[in-house]
């Protein structure tokens, strides 16, 4: 089995890619995908730690997170569809009615 560090580096890389994506990308759907990437980075860390610590908690938590992520996807996509219907764009820079 690969050592714990490998999993942690991969999970940190996934999480960082997600953070960078949220900051850099402008399409609401891509931003949302990057958030999912962050959650999955955290999931990988949970599973790796759980396996390393010989604790079921890590895997159990991942199930909860997956359920939450699914609910989040449903609501997020609904909001994006709503935005698209009202202004024919999913670019977050176009969403500027309220002054920042």
């Amino acid at each position: 089995m690969a050592p714990l560090e490998h999993y942690l580096i991969l999970s940190a890389a996934l999480f960082t890619l997600g953070v960078v994506g949220v900051v850099v990308r402008r399409n609401a759907i891509v931003v949302f995908l990057c958030i999912e990437l962050m959650l999955n980075g955290a999931n990988l860390a949970f599973v790796a730690y759980g396996s390393f610590l010989d604790s079921l908690d890590g895997q159990l938590i991942v199930f909860f997170v997956m359920a939450v992520a699914a609910a989040e996807a449903a609501i997020g996509l609904a909001i994006v569809v709503l935005i698209y219907r009202n202004r024919e764009s999913t670019d977050v820079d176009d969403v500027n009615l309220l002054k920042l």
């Binding site: 962050m38 959650l39 609501i75 997020g76």
Partner: protein, 491 residues
């Protein structure tokens, strides 16, 4: 590996079960009988919240054995926070029923979502497990994302929902990754086990733990709108329906602060001075940014958004004191949240009641001369503004007095001084509204906008908030003692 099934304690779970069952019932009822009167569903939601409040007050806080493996902890702190959350939901339901722009919206949907959000807040506040903190937070966040964009035809609402959703999920990602790191460093997500582990393995030697704690602070800091993670607040508060804004400004803050509080209580005494410094800087930045930005606002919802950021800053002062193990700080934290809930909801209630079907009065100039056209409403608004500014004889003054006193007792000197100076700044923009209402001629705004069928709900919410704010200002001691006692049972 054996899995021990914890014993269930139905009396402790009853408040949450009532709220969830009520939410499901209201959703289904509206789906099957959509033609029914809205007042029936509103009454039902209010009854559910009132009975949940009764159930949580009736349940005597339990011992450690009753904590269901740390997943659901019913102690004195939980009981007080439950009462607070249920009170703010009760007021939000009243406001939602009074708001004219929600008249055409499906009542079952938003009432159900408010109740679901309430259950999430309750779960988040009543647990020792980081997993339940995350799940509770997501339950109420997801409900609030929908509620923010509930008026689908309004582009501002859509925008508020999108911003809240994207930034909120971004923050949840940080929170979750922080929890993963803490889990790895401490070997558990149970705060008590984490605390025990920290006594044998000092956290200063574990960078993963410190990084994880930092990420958790970021995630929770976002939910309570602390600097520098408050950028979303004014936009989301402005774009959401006012009743939802009122709910957002109180409920999630209570729940997130309660979870924050439990985490600090567990890891705080062992995490050392770096956490002190972080909380200190966050508190000062939050209250200063909130107060200074509120001065320039021309929209009342944005002004109240910045004001709620400033109040989050004051509450962070209490958290810094709690970190140092001050019992007084816990009590004053609870008391402050109680008064804050009433006065903030009250102010939003006036905004709802002053609006009409055609349009809400959201510009601050719209309130010019309100003292002549709607004297009772203006008097209530003046009371809430004076209380938010922290001037006697209102609850806001007493709450601030206890809070800053607790910070001084915990050994902070400059933090309370800066907080008091901030309160002075805040007097300017709160009293500007009062001056506008009483010393300016009414503008061309509609003279007497009709409240419509919801006026009795608005009246009830206003009375509840105003009586509470005055009562806590004039007779604070019994409730403050209740808040102090609520901390003694905390393990």
């Amino acid at each position: 590996m054996t899995i021990a099934f914890p014993q269930f304690h139905w009396a402790y779970l009853l408040p949450v079960i009532l709220v969830v069952a009520g939410a499901v019932f209201i959703l289904l009822w509206d789906a099957f009988f959509p033609q029914r009167e809205r007042s029936f569903l509103v009454t039902l939601a209010l009854a559910v919240l009132a009975s949940a409040l009764g159930a949580s007050l009736a349940a005597q806080p339990g011992s450690e054995a009753a904590s269901m493996g740390g997943m659901y902890l019913y102690d004195g702190f939980t009981r007080f926070v439950f009462a607070l959350i249920l009170l703010s939901s009760f007021l939000s339901v009243l406001l939602a029923a009074a708001q004219r722009s929600l008249d055409e919206a499906p009542a079952g949907d938003y009432l159900g979502l408010i109740l679901f959000a309430t259950s999430g807040m309750m779960l988040m506040a009543a647990t020792r497990s980081l997993l339940m903190v995350f799940v509770g937070l997501e339950i109420f966040s997801l409900s609030l994302y929908v509620l923010a964009g509930f008026l689908r035809g309004q582009p501002e609402g859509n925008e508020a929902a999108l911003k809240y959703f994207l930034l909120g999920s971004f923050a949840s990602g940080f929170l979750l990754y922080g929890m993963a790191l803490i889990f790895g460093a401490a070997g558990s997500v149970d705060l008590m086990e984490i605390a025990q582990r920290l006594t044998t393995h000092p956290p200063s030697r574990s960078p993963a733990f410190l990084l994880g704690l930092g990420f958790v602070v970021v995630g929770l800091g976002f939910k309570v709108a602390a600097a520098p993670f408050y950028m979303w607040t004014p936009d989301v508060y402005e774009g959401s329906p006012t009743a939802v804004t009122a709910f957002m400004s109180v409920g999630p803050k209570v729940a997130a602060f309660a979870a924050f509080f439990r985490i600090l209580l567990a890891v705080g005494p062992r995490a050392g001075a770096e956490l002190d410094a972080i909380l200190w800087v966050m508190a000062v930045l939050t209250m200063t940014a909130g107060n200074v930005s509120a001065i320039w606002q021309s929209n009342i919802k944005r002004m109240l958004a910045y004001s709620s950021i400033a109040h989050a800053g004051y509450i962070l002062v209490a958290l810094a004191a709690v970190r140092r193990g001050s019992d007084l700080a816990t009590g004053s934290f609870l008391f402050y949240m109680l008064v804050y809930a009433l006065m903030n909801m009250g102010a939003f209630c006036v905004v709802v009641a002053a609006g009409a079907r055609g349009g809400e009065r959201t510009r601050i100039e719209d309130y010019a001369g309100l003292g002549y056209t709607r004297p009772a409403l203006a008097a209530a608004m003046a009371l809430f503004m004076v209380s938010l500014a922290g001037i006697p004889p209102t609850g806001g003054f007493v709450a601030k007095f206890y809070l800053f006193g607790a910070a001084v007792k915990a050994g902070f000197v400059w933090l309370p001084v800066i907080a008091v100076l901030n309160s002075v700044v805040s007097v300017y923009y709160y009293l500007r509204l009062v001056v506008l209402m009483y010393m300016h001629e009414p503008g061309e705004a509609p003279a007497r906008p009709s409240l419509g069928p919801g006026w009795s709900y608005a009246l009830a919410a206003l009375l509840l908030a105003a009586v509470g704010v005055l009562n806590f200002g004039i007779f604070p001691s019994s409730f403050f003692e209740l808040a102090l006692r609520s901390t003694l049972l905390l393990n």
